[in-house]
Assembly symmetry: C2
Homo-oligomer: 340 residues x 2
């Protein structure tokens, strides 16, 4: 745990607060000023509050996908949504935020599963009777009621299959991401499981780009220098693609060295449009939080009660594990994503 | 494919029809005569029709869980729901029903994934632009947009872990179900993977009860005769439990020979209440069809549009694979299910 004062600085710094307390929460639903239809014939209390706790709260991918869908859900349902957490990637600060939110007794908690270390805080929320859903990465050692995310092994397989198509099943391939993360290692395995079936595909390196664009570009330049006949390169974190693309363009090999990678931020889409990246394996992050919030609501409102008293029965009446699937984005459909 | 005339007889026989055509569909929503709130601010067309196609349409477990939740969902949303299919377990007749329903262009199709053989009919529906969701068993070789079901490997593990607790980790165990079904074989494997970690647990037999109560009872009697010191027995189809319980009661060993099995129909619950069955691994079938229907609706209404045109982009904007999880029902919470 980082010292309290540091945590407060981070959180308050981002949110423009001075005191060491939870910031005033956004009231997405009530600030709209419109009457909204709701998903059940239950009475919906407009003060019913669903709280998302993440880390790196201002990361564009989180803001544009996870948070945007969560707010839109709250507006549709006529309930409050609040989004809390430190501005930087700071797991101890996220844990402290969860602990503080528990004390305010929200209707439901939607937690970005950033690290196995948040399991204890999740268990505190569950023990306090708060419906608690984890998204993005699972925290399987916790008592969370449900998890929604992407199957990263499939992200790797999808890239492997695309790379085989793009190279006609032969050539040298390198790949990079954040080494050691459970998600990414599963992705690497998926990639390798596909490539190993093609004896003419040769893996020349696995690299740690630490989610840093400059480092991803530097690694790619070095690999291109060592292997002038490199056929393709695969990326697994949000900055892998932009970094790899930069180096491949600088080497004058755009379109010749094939690139597949993850995520579909504007920069990634533009690089597909330009023909520098051949395929994006995109996550449906909007669905993590839209349906995650809906499951919280459905627990609160007992939408699908399975016994006389599901809490007393120690059962949950929402799905346990949701794989939202993948988007395959190529030059053929990239305009649909740029136009959105 | 069975001859058309036989199919019509089956379907019409069950539904009390004379002509060889689709029966008039139930209008659960409109017949209610009440104004219902809906899940989105979209205009909802009360003629918007969602069609479930199953087989063995009158099986109590299907009627009381799958179909009941689907109808309730339709009422909540203010749309039509229809349930079609042959009265017996008849996959060719289910396929023919799907093909006929496609021609009527429903808003969405919710299909019980009874057999890999229905893949072609599913693909026809998808090719016709009809949102198509599969539930219960997956048809992974099809183009279905989403699948909701139970992880049967976990059903086996759950029974194994319970049996270890009940027997203090030592004794002879037998198990039965429908041999050869993908789901059940995964369940058997889960059971064995748990038991093999306990050197004092001994598996004395794997049996095919063909989902027949009398056969399950006969097998159990024979196993008890061969192994008077049998510690426990595990079941994997809906009739395993009632059959095993019958034989164990007849042998005067209720509560001594431990029983774990699947499903939570009234008969199963009563046997838990009596102390003959120690644990049920229950499926959340209501969630298969409730959320399956919701995903169809969300595709139709583009609730979470991810691009300018998701159909043109060849992507789906609903989750791909949903594991609804398990209910652990024991003497401690069985009253909550009996009281429901």
């Amino acid at each position: 745990m980082i010292p309290k004062v540091v945590y407060c600085f981070l959180l308050a710094g981002f949110l423009g607060l001075n005191a060491c307390e939870l910031p005033p929460r956004e009231k997405t639903a009530t600030s709209e000023g419109t009457v909204l239809t709701t998903a059940t014939s239950d009475e919906v209390n407009p003060d019913e509050e669903y709280v998302m706790v993440t880390t790196a709260i201002s990361m564009p991918m989180y803001v544009n996908h996870d948070q945007s869908a969560f707010k839109r859900w709250g507006q549709k349902m006529g309930v409050k949504t609040s989004i809390l957490g430190p501005s930087e990637w700071d797991v101890p600060a996220q844990i402290e935020t969860i602990e503080q939110v528990i004390a305010t007794r929200p209707a439901g908690l939607l937690i970005n599963g950033t690290d196995p270390g948040i399991a204890l805080a999740i268990n505190q929320a569950v023990a306090a009777g708060i419906p608690t859903v984890v998204y993005d990465s699972d925290v399987p050692n916790s008592n969370r009621h449900a998890f929604l995310g992407t199957d990263w092994y499939q992200i790797g397989r999808m890239q492997g299959e695309e790379m085989v198509r793009l190279t006609n099943g032969k050539g040298k391939v390198a790949y990079m991401g954040i080494l050691g993360l459970t998600n990414m290692e599963a992705g690497f395995q998926g990639l390798l499981d596909v490539l190993k079936k093609y004896p003419k595909m040769q893996v020349v390196g696995k690299y740690d780009d630490k989610a840093n664009v400059e480092l991803a570009a530097k690694i790619t330049s070095d690999v291109l220098a060592a292997h002038p006949d490199l056929a393709g390169i695969c990326g697994f974190d949000s900055n892998s693609g932009p970094g790899m693309a930069l180096a491949v363009k600088e080497a004058g090999k755009a379109g010749k060295v094939k690139i597949t990678t993850v995520d579909w931020e504007p920069e990634h889409l533009q690089l597909v449009k330009e023909g520098v990246i051949q395929m994006l394996a995109g996550q449906k992050r909007e669905l993590f939080t839209w349906y995650g919030a809906q499951f919280l609501f459905d627990m609160v409102h007992r939408t699908n009660r399975l016994s006389a008293n599901d809490a007393a029965s120690n059962i949950t009446n929402v799905p346990t594990t949701i794989n939202t699937g993948l988007l395959r984005i190529t030059r053929e459909n990239v305009d649909q994503f740029l136009k959105k």
